[in-house]
């Protein structure tokens, strides 16, 4: 690759051909501010519409200022990133953006975590000289996501995530000029659209335009209700990210402190979704083997591959977009829902209370989980198996509100019987983990031999689509893995076209899997954070004494005492589900 010599702020340096001014400046230790630009390097997502114009710099010999994010370096280029002309332009553009943005920062859910706010601060904006009409839009609330488009700055990151990365296609820029905004079709609410609630739009939104539906107040009220027994389950990816909200480096595992904090918040029992993940493996692994055996025996009614079904955004995605394939995914419910249905039956019986007085709360890295709890099939007589779900971010906020000094908390252990988990349950939190957990169990069940090794490195990594062949003592099992619904779509289209030779496929909607979920602490475009969480999950796995789901004593116990065996009638009733064709629905609704 040829190199180019350039000068930025009087520093001369050599960069590869094709390098942008922004990247070159970074190399020279010069931080050019950006707003709409986003580069999740490890996930191969680059968004550079060159729309906000905050990153403009002066290039000698050019008539106009150039956006550093999109302008490639050329030989001999001389760049000034902070001349009077640049600073004035940058501030003026920032004032313009602010002039069309509400100034209610004090009560905005994004306050303190808002890219726009920090940028205004960084640029030293003290007065907005340009004032005028502000664009206003109807607020939209769905089960998971709130859209307050008055706060949209048209960075279009959400549009890229929704269309290019997820290929869900719910969001598009609509109207033009001053009235341009990102919205679903006909500017209707998200719940009238095929939105999967993956929350990746929220994860990348630089302002308070897209936020999660906040359940913290509901939780505070519930915990204060003496009539209720309130239990909590916490997803694997939460422990690998929560520490970030308290200033710990990304990738710090805070499992023990998390348990301690939840106990201090007043939960009566602190359980682990990882336990339910182990349960999921028992059901899904058994289903896989069942389908595989029948398939190999020539049963024509069986189709392969089997697809995982833990991710609610992924489930809603195929219900809308691939209704012809709804028989292929495993019928196993997600760990969150398995936990809920077991808790409200098995555990409620154990406590001797009515399910209506047992409140199940989940802490999730995910916004689609909020929607998943509201699906009618996951309720008994109107009482949901999981009452509501709060995100990692909401939990952090609640801990702060409750005056808990998180960093000085002791490490504590989960309660039993639904708190004990294996390393297999932990790795559900990242891409490749569910299938690795399934392999660990399915191998031993199928071959009746102990695993020769526990780590399947061939299933790990952050590439969008991965594949591996695992030798099940002579049976070559082809496994596919995708994270990001756009990647999932490619595998599904192969299946639809009959070109897929996979036996099993794991799909997670978010980049990196649940660790990159829409409810996690914001990465602000820094994908090394996601990489660090990824590593932390595998560290937690390797630290666990038991690393195969079927060896979890409390899983064995629940089958003995309550469920019978995997795929039993009871298990079927409580742990499995059906899917719906949502493609035919017209989303047009009349609005006043």
């Amino acid at each position: 690759m040829s190199t180019i010599n350039i000068t930025i702020d009087n520093k001369t340096l050599q960069v590869d051909k094709g390098t942008t001014i922004l990247k070159a400046a970074q190399k020279a230790g010069i931080h050019i501010p950006t707003l709409c630009y986003m580069h999740l390097e490890d996930l191969n997502i680059e968004h550079k519409p060159a729309g906000c114009r905050i990153c403009v710099v002066e290039v000698a010999g050019r008539r106009n200022l150039a956006p550093a994010c999109a302008t490639e370096c050329t030989e001999g280029m001389v760049v000034n990133t902070h001349s009077l002309r640049v600073l004035n332009a940058r501030k003026t553009v920032m004032e313009l953006i602010l002039s069309d943005h509400p100034t209610d920062c004090l009560i905005c859910p994004k306050s303190g975590n808002c890219d726009l706010q920090s940028m205004a601060h960084q640029l030293g904006i003290r007065k907005i000289h340009y004032q005028g009409e502000q664009s206003t839009y109807r607020e939209d609330t769905s089960p998971s996501i709130i859209r307050d488009m008055d706060k949209c700055i048209m960075c279009r990151r959400c549009e890229t995530m929704c269309n290019e990365f997820q290929t869900v296609g719910v969001l598009s820029a609509v109207n033009r000029g001053f009235m341009a905004v990102v919205a679903p079709a006909f500017e209707q609410n998200l719940d009238h659209s095929p939105c999967t609630y993956c929350g990746q739009c929220v994860a990348v939104c630089p302002t308070g335009a897209l936020t999660e539906v906040d359940h913290t107040n509901q939780l505070i009220r519930t915990l204060a209700d003496p009539a209720k027994t309130v239990i909590v389950q916490t997803a694997p990816a939460v422990r690998a990210a929560l520490g970030e909200e308290f200033g710990l480096p990304a990738g710090t595992l805070v499992t023990g402190k998390l348990v301690a904090a939840l106990r201090r918040l007043g939960f009566h029992y602190v359980f682990d979704t990882d336990w339910a993940a182990d349960l999921t493996i028992m059901e899904e692994g058994t289903e896989l083997l069942d389908r595989l055996t029948r398939y190999l025996n020539g049963d024509k009614s069986v189709t392969l591959p089997i697809l995982t079904s833990c991710c609610p955004a992924w489930v809603k995605f195929f219900e809308h977009q691939f209704p012809d394939l709804i028989d292929i995914p495993s019928s196993a419910r997600s760990p969150q829902q398995m936990f809920g249905s077991v808790a409200k039956t098995y555990f409620a019986q154990m406590l001797g209370i009515d399910r209506k007085n047992l409140v199940v709360v989940s802490i999730m890295p995910c916004l689609a989980k909020k929607y998943e709890c509201t699906r009618p099939e996951f309720a008994v007589d109107g009482n949901p198996d999981v009452d509501f779900s709060i995100s990692t971010r909401e939990l952090a906020n609640l801990i702060k509100q409750s005056n808990i000094d998180f960093l000085s908390l002791p490490d504590e252990d989960f309660d039993n019987p639904m708190g004990e988990s294996t390393g297999a349950g932990v790795i559900f939190g990242t891409t490749g983990g569910v299938i690795e957990a399934a392999v660990r169990t399915a191998y031993e069940l199928y071959t009746k031999k102990p695993l020769p090794r526990i780590d399947f490195h061939e299933l790990r990594g952050l590439d969008g689509i991965r594949q591996a062949t695992i030798d099940f003592d002579g049976l070559k099992l082809n496994i596919g893995i995708a994270h990001g619904l756009g990647n999932a779509r490619k595998l599904l289209e192969d299946i639809r076209a009959g070109k897929s030779n996979f036996h099993a496929i794991e799909i997670m909607a978010c980049p990196g899997g649940c660790i990159g979920g829409g409810g996690q602490p914001l990465h602000h475009g820094n994908s090394t954070i996601i990489k660090a969480r990824h590593k932390a999950i595998y560290l937690e796995d390797s630290n666990k004494p038991i690393r195969k789901s079927h060896e979890n004593p409390y899983i064995q116990k629940v089958y003995q005492e309550f469920l019978g065996k995997p795929m039993s009638e009871k298990a079927h009733h409580l742990l499995h589900t059906i899917y719906f064709d949502r493609s035919k629905k017209s989303f047009v609704v009349t609005q006043e």
């Binding site: 550079k48 200022l65 999109a70 002039s99 820029a173 109207n175 000029g177 009235m179």
Partner: protein, 597 residues
Amino acid sequence: MANYKMHILVCGGTGCKTSESDMIAHNLRSSLQQHGLADDVQVVMSGCFGFCEKGPIVKVLPDNTFYVSVKPSDAATIIEEHIIKGRPVQHLLYNDPATGEKISESRKMDFYQQQYRIALRNCGFIDPENIDEAIARDAYQALGKVLTQMKPQEVIDIIKRSGLRGRGGAGFPTGLKWEIASKVPGEEKYVVCNADEGDPGAFMDRSILEGDPHSVLEAMAICGYCIGASQGLIYIRAEYPLAIERLKIAIRQAREYGLLGNNIMGTGFNFDITLRYGAGAFVCGEETALIHSMEGHRGEPTFKPPFPAEKGYKGKPTNVNNVETFANVPAIILNGAEWFAAIGTEKSKGTKVFALAGKINNVGLIEVPMGTKLRTVINDIGGGIKNNKKFKAVQIGGPSGGFLTEKHLDTPIDYDSLTEAGSMMGSGGMIVMDESDCMVAMAKFYLDFTVEESCGKCAPCRIGNKRLDELLEKITEGKATEEDLSLLRNLGQVIKDTSLCMLGGSSPNPVLSTLEHFYDEYLAHVRDHRCPAGQCKALVHYIIDPEQCVGCTACARACPVNAISGERKKPHVIDQLICIKCGTCVEKCKFNAVLVQ
């Protein structure tokens, strides 16, 4: 054409059609029929003659008699007097405003004398719906020459040597553009004609397409040969039904004649053209936005590079030129690069078509050599300011251009002089303003347009132009301060400096140039709360001068809100509380008694 002894050309441009030129042609034909002359005299609907002010135009050949302001009822007279008796119809001849003389030949009229028609060479001379007439005037000769005698690079060299620059506004050298596209490797390439003419007050491209569609088709095929493309696309405004219809006919006829399609003229060269419709978005004149629109997307521009030459329509190398640029190409091939380069100025060669409009006597479509002075265009071709008012400014380049004043009247019209003077060539809108036009209000008019047409992708254009417009509104309402004027200037400069595409990059020009040349007028609005032109409603009062008022009651009768009272034959009075400042009384008063203060 051989069978007919005489031809009557009736202008079929949109302007004249609006004045029922269709009906004129119909009446001419039926009158000929009545007199048994249908086989001797042919009536042809031609393209625009350019002299729209005097439309509808009817021209009789071979004696070249040019009739102006013809009505359908004049048709019978033309046939009976001129065709049968050989006597030109005096009252339909052009009346020279200076000498009072009747002029029957267009080339002797001031309007045409200073013009030089290359792009418009066939407009008004041929029936645009008949390829034979185009061919009789050398259409497709250049294509034949190129395909049979020249290598692509030789053609590109001719275009380069000719000095032809893009007529869409930015003035990029056409030959260079073709050369770049020709050198990008690729099996599949595209030639795109940008006919998304969107400037308010501009109709150059439409007139060319309506009057001489074959010149554009031919040039696109030549371009295809040069860059190695076999497909051409014309992106045309859906609001141009007549141009679309004529293009469709022209394409069909060219295909029938083997001038488009496979194996053109037996040379093995394949090239065909299809139409793509715009849908009312000015920003689609920007080439990346245009390409996105043709691909079925929102017409939002994207950052360049990559340029369309590398990655254009469907990701393939694409060359985009505007209509007028293409229309020049066949003439350059036939007459040579040196011929073209001899016309114009050092860096701006050839001619430029302008849509001359506004407060000028001769509204119309004109083509002048580059370097022609503004004064010549306005005074000689344009015939001066309407109603003997005083010239105030001329706006060139539409919403992207700036205002030029009295002191610029001797500026030669070329790319660089106009840019230097704070305007730009633009696509060719040229609007003349007189003393009754308020420059702040005019700047606001253009900003209203930009605000409506901004795609909304980049912040400076989306929000900045809105704020500019609001500041201008504040000024026209007399609510602004001097500080607002410096804000206005700073904002204009920043929008220009930071916008993503040329729409935003040039949208502050009307504001910045009026601030530059008419700062006093801005100050009057801000400091004295006064609109010197008397146009800004919030700042004017209408009063009746009792000395001048004769009490004719014309104003009182016309006033829509009954604000004017007074007895017959006695001076009238306007009630300021009721007056809505509509200006009707000023228009109605024959005695100049209504004063605007």
